[in-house]
């Protein structure tokens, strides 16, 4: 899995962008988006997904079930 940003809720505050350990977050057409190929759910870096922890709008950085769970390569 990866996280995704619910575009309709994102205020474009950019708080999440510098927190991502994988540089997976970028701005696109005025809101922020997560690159599913880069996101590791913060596994191996932090206890909680950083984007979700810093985001001011509840339920905006959420698990994207369209992708399989991230598998850390030991």
């Amino acid at each position: 899995m990866t996280l995704k940003i619910v575009a309709s809720q994102c205020t474009s505050c950019s708080a999440c962008e510098p927190e991502c350990p994988n540089v997976a977050i970028f701005e696109k057409n005025g809101t922020f988006v997560i690159d599913p190929k880069k996101c590791t759910e913060c596994i191996g870096h932090f206890d909680v997904p950083q984007c979700a922890a810093v985001c001011p709008v509840d339920d905006t950085c959420v698990i994207d079930n369209a992708y399989p769970r991230y598998q850390p390569t030991a």
Binding site: T11, S12, C13, A15, A53
Partner: protein, 520 residues
């Protein structure tokens, strides 16, 4: 200032205004929401007052710190810092930082390069522009690269511009040395509590060191970091102002303790602002019906802190990117498109010449006031009352009642005239005729005043003011505020003494909720 019953009636109007504002904002950036910066329209009206000389030297041209400077100098804010690292219950992060701007205001985000160009363009056009602030829309120190890059760009081209920033304090200790390196001599910290029990009711969470903290723990962390940051700044000789938001029932009594705590750590000025809260702001406090203080409650708290340290009473909580002399928003002239197309030629010498002229004018005004004070000498009375003044600035009664977007409020006693704050009203006169509703709003906003001084006023509003017990005074048009007010007050005392009239105590007044909108 509002009696809570009157509060409700204005909500619908506020909702409309807010919708209008958001709409206008969406259509074109830089629409004319006006007002001072979340902080300033001039504090110590007498000039230096009891401030130590080194501090006065630093702040005398800063419109956010000196009531008096606000007539002559201007500040601007650039919105380069959208991210924030905490959450306040009075803030809806769709809008700008509520600590630094009125709720419901959205600023156009700028890159540091755009911001620097904007500052230089404005400073070249408006020689009064002497202060650049970074105050959001989020927390400048949650966006340190953007904030400091902007400072660096400005410092290089316009070393005469003073830099300041406003922060919630969480990240402050990490950046104190960088701030000192930039010669940022003004930092504002918003401190609403020193007791985490109180803080837990104001801050649902803070984000610190890769973790979100909540409840008591969050507030404890925040207050520890704020106090540490404040101490570190004052140790390095950087001026520190503290903003507090007064939230009735949550931190109103507690702010006296906050006042003591920040004073003992060297803050030089404390600004207590009313909570602005309405459901349409979409904030936790807006939605749960938390009310803001009335004018009397606010003033009583400011008075009770006054003995402790300098209180700032001129804060108008205006938007963060207002441009031009305070109260006179020129944002529309400086939209990003227009600025990027501008040729900017920064002329340091002509700016200096202009500022020297202003200094002369200010000295003359202080002298004029001294004379008036002598006229009051010998008068003895316990009477203390408030009057409202319609002014466009320069210390003169020079605004038409119907054109005033705000009134200055002065407290008169045999001790003299003291500036105690602003009352925002929305424009009463739009296109030459008055609207009944807005006149009522104005009366509610200045209901605690005995008189209102104006340059001019129509017959109808005059009659309504008299009916409400507020004397409209237009006999001092275009004269100095303090001199006129003192002259009027002497006559008032005389009438009371001779029994011609009786001194009655006025009621409370309402604090206007919502963003200030320009009619233009």
């Amino acid at each position: 200032m509002h009696a809570s019953t009157q509060h409700e009636t204005s909500e619908a109007a506020v909702a409309d205004k807010l919708a209008e504002a958001m709409q206008a904002k969406a259509e074109h950036q830089g629409c004319g929401t006006s007002g001072g910066s979340g902080k300033a329209s001039c504090g110590s009206s007498a000039g230096q007052g009891d401030l130590p000389t080194e501090i006065w030297e630093k702040v005398k041209n800063h419109p956010c710190y000196s009531e008096e400077a606000h007539h002559h100098y201007a500040r601007m804010h650039v919105a380069v810092a959208p991210a924030c690292n905490i959450q306040c219950n009075y803030c809806n992060r769709k809008y700008d930082c509520a600590n630094e701007s009125r709720p419901g205001v959205v600023s156009e985000k700028l890159t540091p390069q755009q911001a620097a160009k904007k500052v230089l363009a404005v400073a070249s056009t408006i020689p009064q522009m002497t202060v650049l602030g970074i105050a959001g829309p989020g927390d400048p120190l949650a966006n340190p690269e953007k904030t400091f890059q902007t400072f660096e760009l400005i410092n290089r081209t316009a070393p005469d511009i003073k830099l300041c920033l406003s922060t919630n304090g969480l990240a402050l200790p990490d950046h104190v040395d960088t701030i000192a390196g930039f010669n940022v001599d003004h930092v504002t910290i918003t401190i609403n509590m020193v007791d985490p029990e109180v803080g837990a009711k104001i801050y649902p969470w803070v984000f610190w060191k890769h973790k979100r903290y909540t409840g008591y723990e969050a507030a404890k962390l925040l207050t520890d970091r704020q106090m540490l940051g404040l101490e570190m700044l004052t140790e390095r000789g950087i001026l520190c102002k503290v903003n507090s938001v007064m939230i009735p029932g949550i931190n109103d009594k507690h702010l006296v303790e906050v006042n003591r705590a920040v004073k003992s750590r060297g803050a030089f000025l404390h600004n207590i602002m009313p909570l602005i809260s309405a459901p349409e702001h979409g904030t936790v406090f807006g939605l749960n019906g938390q009310r803001g203080p009335t004018a009397q409650e606010l003033k009583a708290l400011q008075d009770s802190c006054e003995g402790e340290m300098n209180m700032m009473r001129h804060c108008r909580q205006c938007r963060a990117d207002a441009v031009g002399l305070l109260g006179e928003d020129r944002s529309a002239e400086f939209t990003t498109d227009k600025i990027m197309a501008m040729e900017v030629n920064y002329d340091l010498d002509s700016r200096k010449a202009y500022q020297a002229l202003v200094e002369e004018e200010r000295v003359a005004k202080v002298a004029a006031k001294q004379e008036e004070m002598e006229a009051l000498a010998g008068e003895q009375s316990d009477i203390k009352l408030l009057v409202a003044v319609a002014t466009k600035g320069s210390g003169l009664i020079n605004e038409h009642f119907g054109h005033a977007k705000e009134f200055q409020v002065w407290e008169l006693s045999t001790g003299g005239a003291k500036f105690v704050g602003h009352r925002r009203v929305d424009l009463y006169c739009q296109g030459g005729y008055g609207e009944e509703d807005s006149l009522e709003t104005i009366i509610r906003a200045i209901n605690d005043c005995h008189a209102v001084f104006v340059a001019k006023i129509g017959g109808c509003p005059k009659a309504d003011l008299v009916k409400a017990g507020i004397e409209p005074v237009d006999g001092f048009a275009h004269e100095f505020i303090e001199k006129s007010a003192i002259t009027w007050f002497k006559e008032y005392l005389n009438k009371v003494k001779t029994g011609e009239m009786e001194h009655v105590v006025r009621g409370d007044a309402e604090i206007r909720q919502g963003a200030l909108i320009n009619a233009a």
